[in-house]
């Protein structure tokens, strides 16, 4: 089994806010991430697929295809967007790095797993070089 990872980057803005909480509680929990005008990050997305290299081509998947899938399923929706205001899954869910990793998995899994060979294995989202969240699917 080989695990193949493709990196991509996107830039997006967001804020953290829970409508069911008071302003005071939002400020207490989310700190400066709760500033209502939002702020932005350069995110790095790492998408890992697992499978056996094809006996003829030596590929687990075609990297160009994987790049195109990441572009069409995730980057086209997230890049240079305000996540809270422009991305449907974050109208209710807070666009934390954790939730972005889960949401990116849900966007990618159907297309990647439809190939019949390789399976989506891991999605890692770096919010900054110091912080990342990783999702490996439901246990």
């Amino acid at each position: 089994m080989i695990f193949l990872t493709r990196r991509a980057t996107f830039a997006a803005s967001h804020y953290y806010w829970n409508e069911s909480w008071s302003e005071e509680k939002n400020r207490a929990v989310f700190g400066k991430c709760a500033n209502r005008n939002g702020h932005g990050h350069n995110y790095t997305l790492e998408v890992t697929v697992a499978g056996e290299p094809d006996a003829v081509t030596g590929f687990v998947v075609d990297l160009k295809w994987l790049k195109d899938v990441i572009e069409s399923e995730v980057l086209s929706a997230y890049d240079h967007r305000h996540l809270n205001l422009e991305v449907p899954e974050f109208v209710k869910a807070v666009p934390t790095t954790e939730n972005i990793a889960i949401a990116a998995w849900k966007r990618l899994e159907p297309t990647i797993n439809a190939t019949g060979g390789a399976k989506l294995s891991r999605v890692r989202v770096y919010e900054t070089p110091e912080i990342f969240a990783e999702f490996r699917g439901e246990a």
Binding site: F3, T5, T57, G58
Partner: protein, 126 residues
């Protein structure tokens, strides 16, 4: 790190299919990468040395068995890749085989090969 060239081309496919599957990686004279290889070894910390493994020994394995073999070489000309295409999937699997054969059984956890800043491949013990 090692710098090597390769060309992705298999005899089982027509010229047209090679071009379609491998794109510019199929260009006839090959191309090169700076590959970064990470190996992860796992084990208990030896109470006498405080080490899982002496890094000098691990360095020596990587230098003599991997870097000297592949650095500044054309991977397609290595006997290992006469009958299999030198994709980084296959390179990571072969490096795992080479390095695991030089270490105590079960010690090598994974080999990770970065082909570019955008792509890397991991082969785990399994």
């Amino acid at each position: 790190m090692l710098s090597a060239s390769h060309r992705l081309h298999v005899e089982a496919l027509s010229e047209e299919d090679n071009r379609r599957v491998y794109g510019k990686c199929n260009n006839p004279h090959g191309h090169g990468h700076n590959y970064t290889i990470e190996v992860l070894v796992g084990g208990e910390v030896d109470p006498a040395t405080g080490m899982v493994m002496n890094l000098v020994d691990l360095d020596a394995v990587m230098q003599t068995k991997v870097v000297e073999r592949f650095d500044h070489m054309n991977l397609n000309h290595d006997p290992m890749f006469v009958n299999q295409v030198p994709t980084t999937e296959n390179l990571s699997r072969e490096v795992f085989r080479i390095v695991s054969g030089e270490l105590p059984a079960g010690m090598l956890e994974y080999v990770r090969v970065e082909e570019t800043e955008s792509n890397f491949f991991e082969c785990y013990a399994s």
